[in-house]
């Protein structure tokens, strides 16, 4: 199989974040500040990524603004020829820092939205005052003229705010909005009972998005991530394992997707030890689920295998106990009925208690 160069790289600059969203995609075992790559190490990784063929660099976290050297990292990435996208909650950005990011050549800002009012957003984000601050940051973003994408994560507790989120995006002058129904990885797995939308809600969300796409054609581009558990076909996770993109964790571990470390039998390389090019083409974790040879039935002889690549490996592990199984979201998986029942049971719950993300207590010295 010929492996093509990657198009996109997500750099999780840090796991630190003032917010503590209960669906955060960061792993349960958050990386501490002491383990983070230095400015020079990130710079080296960016240059290697550009040489490898990466076009888009997503600067993410945690909250990337928690890194004091963010401005310098953006300048380096632009210097290397990468398109730089900042994925932020807005907290930690000031007008001065945004102007410095502008100077550094930042191409685009993606601002996360936990809710459309302070009551909802601050409860979900677990950070009082966060919403008001975010609105202030959005004002500066518009003033400076950064192109903006709003990133609305929706679930059972805030799906009723979806129409307002779309209106907000238009009012803020965003060109795009990503409406993502919570995906159950990382911390979200701890909160399935509190966040799982009902099937009816999931359908309603799709209808709202389809209507808005027509109404707002040429004004607002809407990307939609449906409620995976209620679908009949899985998402094409990462556009195919090891085919289009890669992630780098705060400590330099290079991952085929952000949840890959939940698969216990995989071993990962670090940019601290091995050139990125070698990791991409020869790394054991990248080759584990590349292409189609690893596939079991029903995927192996399925006409959709080039479309969804058998779904998500991390989800197959979490739901079927085997990372090499067909994603149970698929109606052709023997485990689909079981998942469907589970999803409906989670959605029917009335417990709204959230488990917020947090750092594990420090190990005793």
């Amino acid at each position: 199989m010929t492996v093509r160069p990657p198009l996109a790289m997500l750099a999780e600059l840090t796991h630190r974040c003032p917010l503590s969203c209960p669906y955060c995609s960061n792993p349960l075992d958050l990386a501490r500040k002491e383990t983070e790559l230095s400015t020079e190490e990130w710079a080296g990784a960016f240059r290697q990524a550009a040489d490898l063929g990466v076009l888009h660099l997503h600067l993410s976290g945690g909250e990337p603004a928690s890194r004091r050297d963010l401005e310098e990292l953006v300048a380096t990435a632009r210097g290397a020829g990468l398109y730089t996208n900042l994925i932020t909650s807005g907290i930690g950005l000031t007008e001065r820092r945004l102007r410095a990011l502008d100077e550094a050549g930042l191409d685009h800002v993606q601002l996360s939205l936990q809710g459309t009012d302070a009551a909802m957003a601050d409860r979900i984000g677990g950070y009082r005052g966060g919403f008001d601050r975010k609105m202030q940051v959005a004002g500066w973003i518009a003033e400076i003229g950064f192109p903006l994408t709003l990133n609305a994560v929706v679930h059972r507790q805030n799906l009723h705010q979806l129409p307002e989120a779309l209106d907000m995006a238009v009012r803020m002058g965003a060109r795009r909005i990503e409406v993502a129904i919570v995906q159950f990885h990382g911390w979200a797995m701890q909160n399935r009972a509190a966040l799982m939308p009902t099937r009816a809600q999931a359908e309603e969300a799709r209808r709202i998005v389809e209507e808005a796409r027509k109404r707002l054609l040429g004004t607002l581009v809407i990307d939609f991530v449906p409620a995976d558990y209620h679908e009949d076909f899985p998402k094409s996770c990462m556009g195919g394992w090891g085919s289009t993109g890669l992630n780098i964790a705060p400590d330099g571990t290079v991952l085929p997707c952000h949840a890959a470390q939940t698969i216990p039998h995989l071993s990962f390389d670090s940019v601290r030890d091995r050139p990125l090019r070698e990791i991409w083409y020869n790394g054991a974790a990248f080759n584990a689920y590349r292409g189609y040879d690893w596939m079991p039935e029903p995927c192996r002889s399925c006409d959709r295998k080039q479309i969804d690549h058998g779904g998500c490996r991390c989800q197959a592990l979490a739901l079927a106990g085997d990372a090499g199984a067909t994603d149970p979201v698929c109606a052709r998986s023997p485990r689909h009925a079981e998942l469907r029942a589970k999803a409906d049971a989670f959605a029917a719950g009335s417990d709204e208690t959230l488990t917020y993300r947090s750092f594990a207590p420090a190990e005793p010295a």
Binding site: P5, L7, D107, H108, R175, G218
Partner: protein
Amino acid sequence: MTIGPASVPVLPRGVRLHHDRVRDTWVLLAPERAIRLDPIGHAVLCEVDGTRSFGAIVAALAAKYDAPQDRIAEDSRGLLTGLLNRRMLELTE
């Protein structure tokens, strides 16, 4: 929104042409999107400078490639309308 001869197309901030040295091709980079450009697409977008009208762009391309204006207008309008709908292009007039 339709593109007429007097429309002045412009690539908004955050959308830019980039030479992809690894794949040896021109691409148009935008948030979450990279569009690989064929030589015609690249030629059209090179003419988009935010000051010249669509009519002027078509005339320039027709002269440069010695091709009928109608064909050029149709092809470029298709490309630019697609970009317009995806918020990767704006019209100033």
